[in-house]
Amino acid sequence: MALTDTDTTSTRTIVAPRLKGTPRMSRRATRLVWGIPYGVFTAALAIIFLYPLVWTTVSSFSPQAGSAQTDGWGFGNYVSLANFQAGIWVYLGNSLFVSLVTVALTLVISFLGGYAFARFHFPGKNLLFLLVLAILMVPYATLLIPLYVILNAVGLQNSLLGVALVLTMFQLPFSMFMMRISFESIPRELDEAALVDGCNSFSALWRVLLPAVKPGLITVGLFAFLTAWNDFIAPPILINDTNRMTLPLAVANLRGQVMGVIDYGATEAGVVVLALPCIVLFLVLQRHYVRGFMSGAFKG
């Protein structure tokens, strides 16, 4: 307190005459005064945001009402999750397959497509981009029915690959937008330099532009993974074999399979298993996707 007072007084004598308005040191004093309510307020906000995750994780290890685990702390809820229907390894494997194929397809398509939209002029370009954005506007559940008919027609009925194709399509608006602004934020001089060095458009893309759009690609890949890993509407509509269901669906099915019986404990365990890889990837890649978002700066 005494420190603040002296600081303010000394500031006033030195700075105030030159800079009318708020002197620098008194701003620091303001910051000190506001620091405590700011800290308390934001800490409360952080608790609100983190509490649901912490509570779920902790209670997934505890016995509680409506869970198969009855005594002591431990992995009982995880055991009942693991043994649900076809078993967790089957569902995990299916989910991993769908997610990885979706990520790979999304990366390749939006990398090439973003390049085309950012650097080339071709007839129908604007129409194609508009169609990609229009995907956002169609109610998801209804487009899945004709998609089922079409996948049937090409022999991809009841297949995880079919699910991955569909999820890739729904991922296009975000990823194409992201890759287009990523490419647009790279100066054209880089293309020209590559061409002078003897590249054609493909080797320029592969050797020179790929490193430059890496943050964008990481962002696109991360969001494709999160979407595919968590989607639980496409699999039940496109697949009718329980052994080919994905993990979120199995977790959602933990409730309401038998009338009135909901295994809350196993559901918590399921949420933790679903959330863990997402949160880990999100934290590990944080630096990159924040850069990915910043690179184009969403200029509108």
Binding site: T42, A46, P52, L128, L165, V166, V251, L283, F293
Partner: protein, 303 residues
Amino acid sequence: MAFTTTARTARRARARSPLGGPVQGWLYAAPTALFVVALFLIPLLLVLQMSGSDWPLLRGNLGWNFPDNYVEAVNHRLFWDSIWFTLKYTVITTVLLVGLGLGLALLVQESTMWKGFLRTSFLIPSALGLASASLLFYVLYSPFAGPFADLMQTWGFTFLGTPEGALWSTVFLIVWRYAGFYMLLMLVGLQGIPEDVFEAARIDGASRWQTFRDITLPLLRPTFALTIVLCVTGSLLAFDQFYILTKGGPDNSTMTIVQLIYNIAFQGQNNLGIAAALSVIVLLALIVINVVQLRAFNRPEEA
């Protein structure tokens, strides 16, 4: 005039584009085009056809009956209720998410260690899928297993048991899940404002509030456009959260338009024709709403 300008720009760009012409452009865009045509355009045309024909879930097309499905869709007893509820929900979530996104962004704008921690805390829920987040809150709100179970039993309240409670409980879940993401978009927008603009305002003696109102807000316009369009479109098509938390209840009070489409398609009547007609109506409404929004945001700034 506008046309000649675009044509000239295009011609100049074509002449200057060192990488190649339209053929190469199409080659790189070909996978995108293939996906869009095979998995979006053709299914969309199929939805249009379904909406004009009798199409039960398991048998397929039983002939053209336009406009019967549209008439039935509009006359469905929950049609207007679900539209009203969806609009109410959209306004609430858009106002909250855009406002909170900006608020949180302003709270953590400068980088210090504490603000970095806060940013990460607000962003972590965005890593969860909507379905996982909904399942998490389904347990959290439960009167048997949740952290508020004892309180709920003592005081006799429920989160999801009343229409108002179900609405606001779902809104809370959505705010929790998406506020960090909108904060990130707002941070990007704030980053895009050149520092010297603020510097100039400071020299002119503008107060903090004046700077915010007359500089930050107007210059964030493109960011507002992006976030509002994203939020409105997403909320009008809301499904996962209601499907898991309320299934449209209690008493159909939280029936969104997509939940209604889903119910018509897969429960009870199993009538894909009516569901498709309803989808076409929603699609047309969304196109109109988005065109209006983009027009409003692209209106040149009056001096």
